[in-house]
Subunit: 200 residues, 2 copies
Protein backbone atom coordinates (compact mmCIF):
# COMPACT_ATOMS: atom_id res chain seq x y z
CA UNK A 1 0.00 0.00 0.00
CA UNK A 2 1.23 3.49 -0.81
CA UNK A 3 2.69 5.43 2.12
CA UNK A 4 0.50 8.12 3.70
CA UNK A 5 1.11 11.84 3.35
CA UNK A 6 2.52 13.12 6.63
CA UNK A 7 0.87 16.47 7.35
CA UNK A 8 2.67 18.48 10.05
CA UNK A 9 0.98 21.66 11.21
CA UNK A 10 0.53 24.06 14.11
CA UNK A 11 -2.97 25.14 15.13
CA UNK A 12 -1.61 28.69 15.44
CA UNK A 13 -0.70 28.70 11.73
CA UNK A 14 -3.28 30.15 9.31
CA UNK A 15 -1.54 28.51 6.35
CA UNK A 16 -1.86 25.23 8.23
CA UNK A 17 -5.60 25.90 8.44
CA UNK A 18 -5.89 26.58 4.71
CA UNK A 19 -3.94 23.39 3.98
CA UNK A 20 -6.11 21.41 6.39
CA UNK A 21 -9.20 22.31 4.36
CA UNK A 22 -7.62 20.81 1.22
CA UNK A 23 -5.26 17.97 2.14
CA UNK A 24 -7.69 15.08 2.60
CA UNK A 25 -9.23 15.66 -0.83
CA UNK A 26 -5.76 15.94 -2.35
CA UNK A 27 -4.77 12.68 -0.70
CA UNK A 28 -7.94 10.98 -1.88
CA UNK A 29 -7.32 12.08 -5.48
CA UNK A 30 -3.82 10.58 -5.26
CA UNK A 31 -4.93 7.40 -3.49
CA UNK A 32 -3.06 8.33 -0.31
CA UNK A 33 -4.23 8.59 3.26
CA UNK A 34 -3.15 11.57 5.34
CA UNK A 35 -1.46 11.36 8.74
CA UNK A 36 -2.44 14.50 10.62
CA UNK A 37 0.39 15.55 12.94
CA UNK A 38 -0.18 18.71 14.97
CA UNK A 39 3.02 20.02 16.53
CA UNK A 40 4.12 23.07 18.49
CA UNK A 41 6.28 25.13 16.17
CA UNK A 42 7.49 27.13 19.17
CA UNK A 43 9.64 24.13 20.06
CA UNK A 44 10.94 23.96 16.50
CA UNK A 45 11.64 27.71 16.45
CA UNK A 46 13.90 27.21 19.46
CA UNK A 47 16.06 25.02 17.21
CA UNK A 48 15.91 27.31 14.17
CA UNK A 49 16.01 30.67 15.97
CA UNK A 50 12.88 31.79 14.10
CA UNK A 51 9.85 33.74 15.15
CA UNK A 52 6.30 33.14 13.87
CA UNK A 53 5.73 34.89 10.52
CA UNK A 54 2.91 36.94 11.98
CA UNK A 55 5.23 38.42 14.61
CA UNK A 56 7.86 39.58 12.12
CA UNK A 57 7.93 43.18 10.87
CA UNK A 58 6.54 43.55 7.32
CA UNK A 59 5.91 39.79 7.02
CA UNK A 60 3.19 40.05 9.66
CA UNK A 61 1.39 42.77 7.69
CA UNK A 62 1.71 40.75 4.51
CA UNK A 63 0.22 37.70 6.22
CA UNK A 64 -2.85 39.69 7.29
CA UNK A 65 -3.42 40.60 3.64
CA UNK A 66 -2.36 37.32 2.07
CA UNK A 67 -4.22 34.83 4.26
CA UNK A 68 -7.69 36.33 3.64
CA UNK A 69 -6.88 36.62 -0.08
CA UNK A 70 -5.78 32.97 -0.20
CA UNK A 71 -8.88 31.91 1.75
CA UNK A 72 -11.15 33.76 -0.71
CA UNK A 73 -9.42 32.00 -3.60
CA UNK A 74 -10.08 28.63 -1.97
CA UNK A 75 -13.61 29.57 -0.92
CA UNK A 76 -12.70 28.89 2.71
CA UNK A 77 -14.27 30.77 5.62
CA UNK A 78 -11.75 32.88 7.51
CA UNK A 79 -11.87 35.23 10.47
CA UNK A 80 -8.61 36.74 11.70
CA UNK A 81 -8.65 36.00 15.45
CA UNK A 82 -8.26 38.84 17.91
CA UNK A 83 -5.80 36.71 19.86
CA UNK A 84 -2.91 35.34 17.82
CA UNK A 85 -0.66 33.56 17.75
CA UNK A 86 -2.16 31.21 20.32
CA UNK A 87 -0.10 28.67 22.24
CA UNK A 88 -1.84 25.55 20.99
CA UNK A 89 -0.58 23.28 23.76
CA UNK A 90 -4.02 22.14 24.94
CA UNK A 91 -5.30 21.55 21.41
CA UNK A 92 -2.21 19.54 20.50
CA UNK A 93 -2.40 17.44 23.63
CA UNK A 94 -6.11 16.83 23.09
CA UNK A 95 -5.30 15.54 19.60
CA UNK A 96 -2.52 13.26 20.84
CA UNK A 97 -4.74 12.05 23.66
CA UNK A 98 -7.13 10.70 21.01
CA UNK A 99 -4.38 9.59 18.64
CA UNK A 100 -3.50 6.77 17.90
CA UNK A 101 -6.47 5.00 19.54
CA UNK A 102 -9.22 7.08 17.91
CA UNK A 103 -7.68 8.49 14.72
CA UNK A 104 -10.96 9.48 13.08
CA UNK A 105 -12.08 11.44 16.14
CA UNK A 106 -8.62 12.98 16.48
CA UNK A 107 -8.81 14.30 12.94
CA UNK A 108 -12.34 15.59 13.42
CA UNK A 109 -11.14 17.42 16.53
CA UNK A 110 -8.22 18.96 14.63
CA UNK A 111 -10.58 20.17 11.92
CA UNK A 112 -13.01 21.55 14.49
CA UNK A 113 -10.24 23.37 16.38
CA UNK A 114 -8.95 24.91 13.15
CA UNK A 115 -12.46 25.92 12.07
CA UNK A 116 -13.21 27.52 15.45
CA UNK A 117 -9.88 29.37 15.59
CA UNK A 118 -9.30 30.46 11.98
CA UNK A 119 -12.77 30.05 10.53
CA UNK A 120 -14.58 31.83 13.38
CA UNK A 121 -11.75 33.74 15.02
CA UNK A 122 -12.19 32.18 18.48
CA UNK A 123 -9.35 31.95 20.98
CA UNK A 124 -8.44 28.26 21.07
CA UNK A 125 -5.52 28.67 23.46
CA UNK A 126 -7.32 27.84 26.73
CA UNK A 127 -8.02 24.19 27.48
CA UNK A 128 -11.63 25.13 28.24
CA UNK A 129 -12.09 26.42 24.68
CA UNK A 130 -10.68 23.19 23.27
CA UNK A 131 -12.99 21.16 25.53
CA UNK A 132 -15.95 23.20 24.30
CA UNK A 133 -15.16 22.42 20.68
CA UNK A 134 -14.54 18.78 21.58
CA UNK A 135 -17.89 18.56 23.37
CA UNK A 136 -19.64 19.21 20.05
CA UNK A 137 -18.03 15.98 18.85
CA UNK A 138 -19.40 14.09 21.84
CA UNK A 139 -16.12 14.15 23.76
CA UNK A 140 -16.60 14.37 27.53
CA UNK A 141 -14.97 17.60 28.83
CA UNK A 142 -13.89 16.01 32.10
CA UNK A 143 -12.22 13.09 30.31
CA UNK A 144 -10.44 15.51 27.99
CA UNK A 145 -9.27 17.71 30.88
CA UNK A 146 -7.81 14.64 32.52
CA UNK A 147 -6.43 13.21 29.29
CA UNK A 148 -4.35 16.26 28.40
CA UNK A 149 -2.65 16.04 31.80
CA UNK A 150 -1.64 12.41 31.23
CA UNK A 151 2.18 12.16 31.17
CA UNK A 152 1.97 9.60 28.36
CA UNK A 153 0.05 12.14 26.22
CA UNK A 154 2.58 14.87 26.98
CA UNK A 155 5.36 12.46 26.01
CA UNK A 156 3.61 11.64 22.74
CA UNK A 157 3.44 15.29 21.74
CA UNK A 158 7.06 15.80 22.72
CA UNK A 159 8.09 12.78 20.64
CA UNK A 160 6.21 14.03 17.57
CA UNK A 161 7.86 17.43 17.91
CA UNK A 162 11.27 15.79 18.08
CA UNK A 163 10.42 13.55 15.14
CA UNK A 164 9.40 16.65 13.15
CA UNK A 165 12.69 18.44 13.81
CA UNK A 166 14.62 15.25 13.02
CA UNK A 167 12.82 15.09 9.66
CA UNK A 168 13.61 18.73 8.89
CA UNK A 169 10.18 20.25 9.54
CA UNK A 170 10.59 23.97 10.23
CA UNK A 171 7.24 25.54 9.28
CA UNK A 172 3.50 24.92 8.95
CA UNK A 173 2.09 23.33 6.92
CA UNK A 174 4.82 20.85 6.08
CA UNK A 175 4.19 17.70 4.06
CA UNK A 176 6.38 14.63 3.67
CA UNK A 177 5.51 11.81 1.31
CA UNK A 178 7.83 9.01 0.18
CA UNK A 179 10.61 10.98 1.88
CA UNK A 180 9.91 14.07 -0.21
CA UNK A 181 9.36 17.32 1.78
CA UNK A 182 7.05 20.16 0.74
CA UNK A 183 6.73 23.32 2.82
CA UNK A 184 3.83 25.72 2.60
CA UNK A 185 0.19 25.82 1.59
CA UNK A 186 1.22 27.25 -1.79
CA UNK A 187 3.26 24.13 -2.52
CA UNK A 188 0.28 21.79 -2.50
CA UNK A 189 0.10 22.07 -6.29
CA UNK A 190 3.63 20.70 -6.55
CA UNK A 191 2.87 18.04 -3.94
CA UNK A 192 -0.13 16.86 -5.96
CA UNK A 193 1.84 16.89 -9.19
CA UNK A 194 4.60 14.88 -7.51
CA UNK A 195 2.07 12.22 -6.48
CA UNK A 196 0.43 12.17 -9.91
CA UNK A 197 3.69 11.86 -11.84
CA UNK A 198 5.85 9.92 -9.41
CA UNK A 199 8.25 12.85 -9.24
CA UNK A 200 10.53 14.70 -11.64
CA UNK B 1 -1.89 51.99 -19.87
CA UNK B 2 -1.89 49.24 -17.26
CA UNK B 3 0.66 49.63 -14.47
CA UNK B 4 3.82 47.51 -14.65
CA UNK B 5 4.54 44.58 -12.37
CA UNK B 6 7.17 45.65 -9.86
CA UNK B 7 9.60 42.78 -9.45
CA UNK B 8 11.83 43.10 -6.37
CA UNK B 9 14.60 40.55 -5.98
CA UNK B 10 18.05 39.91 -4.54
CA UNK B 11 20.72 38.34 -6.76
CA UNK B 12 21.65 36.13 -3.79
CA UNK B 13 18.14 34.61 -3.81
CA UNK B 14 17.67 31.37 -5.78
CA UNK B 15 13.90 31.81 -5.75
CA UNK B 16 14.47 35.25 -7.24
CA UNK B 17 16.42 33.53 -10.02
CA UNK B 18 13.64 31.05 -10.73
CA UNK B 19 11.12 33.91 -10.80
CA UNK B 20 13.36 35.94 -13.09
CA UNK B 21 13.22 33.16 -15.68
CA UNK B 22 9.42 33.36 -15.75
CA UNK B 23 8.26 36.88 -14.97
CA UNK B 24 8.65 38.58 -18.36
CA UNK B 25 6.59 35.90 -20.09
CA UNK B 26 3.97 36.12 -17.34
CA UNK B 27 3.85 39.89 -17.77
CA UNK B 28 3.55 39.57 -21.53
CA UNK B 29 0.64 37.14 -21.21
CA UNK B 30 -1.13 39.64 -18.96
CA UNK B 31 -0.27 42.67 -21.09
CA UNK B 32 1.97 44.13 -18.40
CA UNK B 33 5.55 45.30 -18.50
CA UNK B 34 7.88 44.31 -15.67
CA UNK B 35 9.99 46.74 -13.63
CA UNK B 36 13.05 44.80 -12.51
CA UNK B 37 14.19 46.09 -9.12
CA UNK B 38 17.22 44.37 -7.61
CA UNK B 39 17.67 45.19 -3.93
CA UNK B 40 19.91 44.09 -1.09
CA UNK B 41 17.77 42.04 1.26
CA UNK B 42 20.49 42.35 3.90
CA UNK B 43 19.35 45.93 4.43
CA UNK B 44 15.74 44.75 4.68
CA UNK B 45 16.69 41.98 7.11
CA UNK B 46 18.13 44.65 9.43
CA UNK B 47 14.58 46.02 9.67
CA UNK B 48 12.87 42.64 10.04
CA UNK B 49 15.49 40.88 12.17
CA UNK B 50 15.59 38.00 9.70
CA UNK B 51 18.39 35.89 8.30
CA UNK B 52 18.55 34.51 4.75
CA UNK B 53 16.58 31.28 4.43
CA UNK B 54 19.69 29.40 3.35
CA UNK B 55 21.45 30.30 6.60
CA UNK B 56 18.68 29.05 8.87
CA UNK B 57 18.83 25.59 10.43
CA UNK B 58 16.54 23.07 8.71
CA UNK B 59 15.25 25.70 6.25
CA UNK B 60 18.69 25.86 4.64
CA UNK B 61 18.70 22.10 4.06
CA UNK B 62 15.20 22.25 2.64
CA UNK B 63 16.21 25.01 0.25
CA UNK B 64 19.06 22.90 -1.14
CA UNK B 65 16.54 20.18 -1.93
CA UNK B 66 13.65 22.37 -2.99
CA UNK B 67 15.39 24.81 -5.33
CA UNK B 68 16.82 22.11 -7.65
CA UNK B 69 13.45 20.33 -7.61
CA UNK B 70 11.64 23.56 -8.50
CA UNK B 71 14.20 24.29 -11.24
CA UNK B 72 13.69 20.83 -12.76
CA UNK B 73 9.94 21.39 -12.78
CA UNK B 74 10.42 24.67 -14.66
CA UNK B 75 13.09 23.22 -16.94
CA UNK B 76 15.55 25.87 -15.76
CA UNK B 77 19.29 25.26 -15.52
CA UNK B 78 20.56 25.37 -11.96
CA UNK B 79 23.92 24.92 -10.27
CA UNK B 80 24.14 25.44 -6.51
CA UNK B 81 27.06 27.88 -6.12
CA UNK B 82 29.95 26.94 -3.86
CA UNK B 83 29.85 30.46 -2.42
CA UNK B 84 26.48 31.54 -1.12
CA UNK B 85 24.87 33.70 -0.10
CA UNK B 86 26.84 36.33 -1.98
CA UNK B 87 26.74 40.01 -1.09
CA UNK B 88 25.33 41.29 -4.37
CA UNK B 89 26.38 44.91 -3.84
CA UNK B 90 28.40 45.22 -7.05
CA UNK B 91 25.74 43.50 -9.16
CA UNK B 92 23.02 45.74 -7.74
CA UNK B 93 25.01 48.88 -8.28
CA UNK B 94 25.88 47.82 -11.82
CA UNK B 95 22.17 47.42 -12.52
CA UNK B 96 21.27 50.80 -11.04
CA UNK B 97 24.16 52.41 -12.91
CA UNK B 98 22.44 51.34 -16.16
CA UNK B 99 18.93 52.00 -14.90
CA UNK B 100 16.97 54.20 -15.71
CA UNK B 101 18.99 55.39 -18.74
CA UNK B 102 19.47 52.00 -20.39
CA UNK B 103 16.61 49.82 -19.07
CA UNK B 104 16.93 47.08 -21.70
CA UNK B 105 20.64 46.66 -21.02
CA UNK B 106 20.03 46.78 -17.27
CA UNK B 107 17.57 43.91 -17.52
CA UNK B 108 19.88 41.90 -19.75
CA UNK B 109 22.63 42.38 -17.18
CA UNK B 110 20.35 41.23 -14.36
CA UNK B 111 19.45 38.11 -16.32
CA UNK B 112 23.11 37.44 -17.14
CA UNK B 113 24.17 37.86 -13.51
CA UNK B 114 21.45 35.48 -12.35
CA UNK B 115 22.34 32.94 -15.03
CA UNK B 116 26.03 33.06 -14.16
CA UNK B 117 25.42 32.81 -10.41
CA UNK B 118 22.51 30.36 -10.14
CA UNK B 119 22.58 28.77 -13.59
CA UNK B 120 26.34 28.14 -13.62
CA UNK B 121 27.20 28.40 -9.93
CA UNK B 122 29.77 31.19 -10.36
CA UNK B 123 30.62 33.58 -7.53
CA UNK B 124 29.08 36.89 -8.58
CA UNK B 125 30.01 38.74 -5.40
CA UNK B 126 33.23 40.40 -6.64
CA UNK B 127 32.90 43.47 -8.87
CA UNK B 128 35.36 41.83 -11.29
CA UNK B 129 33.00 38.90 -11.79
CA UNK B 130 30.11 41.26 -12.50
CA UNK B 131 32.29 43.20 -14.96
CA UNK B 132 33.16 39.95 -16.71
CA UNK B 133 29.51 39.05 -17.20
CA UNK B 134 28.77 42.62 -18.29
CA UNK B 135 31.59 42.53 -20.84
CA UNK B 136 29.74 39.76 -22.70
CA UNK B 137 26.94 42.30 -23.19
CA UNK B 138 29.40 44.82 -24.64
CA UNK B 139 29.68 46.85 -21.44
CA UNK B 140 33.13 48.38 -20.93
CA UNK B 141 34.65 47.00 -17.69
CA UNK B 142 36.42 50.26 -16.85
CA UNK B 143 33.23 52.27 -17.28
CA UNK B 144 31.35 49.81 -15.06
CA UNK B 145 34.07 49.87 -12.40
CA UNK B 146 33.79 53.65 -12.33
CA UNK B 147 30.01 53.66 -12.57
CA UNK B 148 29.45 51.50 -9.50
CA UNK B 149 31.52 53.95 -7.43
CA UNK B 150 29.37 56.89 -8.51
CA UNK B 151 27.67 58.39 -5.41
CA UNK B 152 24.51 58.96 -7.47
CA UNK B 153 24.37 55.23 -8.27
CA UNK B 154 24.90 54.30 -4.63
CA UNK B 155 22.11 56.70 -3.70
CA UNK B 156 19.79 55.16 -6.26
CA UNK B 157 20.27 51.67 -4.82
CA UNK B 158 19.78 53.00 -1.30
CA UNK B 159 16.56 54.75 -2.38
CA UNK B 160 15.18 51.58 -4.00
CA UNK B 161 15.95 49.61 -0.85
CA UNK B 162 14.13 52.17 1.26
CA UNK B 163 11.24 52.21 -1.19
CA UNK B 164 11.04 48.41 -0.94
CA UNK B 165 10.85 48.45 2.86
CA UNK B 166 8.29 51.26 2.73
CA UNK B 167 6.15 49.11 0.43
CA UNK B 168 6.43 46.10 2.74
CA UNK B 169 8.91 44.02 0.73
CA UNK B 170 10.61 41.52 3.06
CA UNK B 171 11.72 38.67 0.82
CA UNK B 172 12.77 37.70 -2.71
CA UNK B 173 11.10 37.48 -5.12
CA UNK B 174 8.40 39.99 -4.21
CA UNK B 175 5.88 41.30 -6.72
CA UNK B 176 3.59 44.31 -6.47
CA UNK B 177 1.00 45.11 -9.10
CA UNK B 178 -1.87 47.58 -8.77
CA UNK B 179 -0.90 47.81 -5.09
CA UNK B 180 -1.33 44.06 -4.60
CA UNK B 181 1.69 42.25 -3.03
CA UNK B 182 2.75 38.68 -3.81
CA UNK B 183 5.71 37.07 -2.07
CA UNK B 184 7.54 34.04 -3.38
CA UNK B 185 8.23 32.22 -6.62
CA UNK B 186 5.45 29.76 -5.76
CA UNK B 187 2.92 32.60 -5.73
CA UNK B 188 3.36 33.45 -9.39
CA UNK B 189 0.34 31.29 -10.20
CA UNK B 190 -1.81 33.47 -7.95
CA UNK B 191 -0.20 36.62 -9.37
CA UNK B 192 -1.07 35.53 -12.90
CA UNK B 193 -4.59 34.59 -11.90
CA UNK B 194 -5.00 37.99 -10.22
CA UNK B 195 -4.01 39.75 -13.43
CA UNK B 196 -6.26 37.54 -15.56
CA UNK B 197 -9.33 37.95 -13.39
CA UNK B 198 -8.83 41.45 -11.99
CA UNK B 199 -8.68 40.00 -8.50
CA UNK B 200 -11.02 38.13 -6.18
Amino acid sequence: MAAPIEFYFDFASPYGYLAATQIDALGARAGRTVDWKPILLGAVFKVTGQRPLMERPLAGDYLLHDVPRFARLLGVKLTIPERMPIAALAACRAFWWLQPDRPELARLLAQAVYRAHWGEGRDLGPAEAVAEVAADLGIDPAALAEGIQDPAVKDRLRAVNEEAVAKGVFGSPFFIVDGEPFWGADRMGQLERWLETGGW
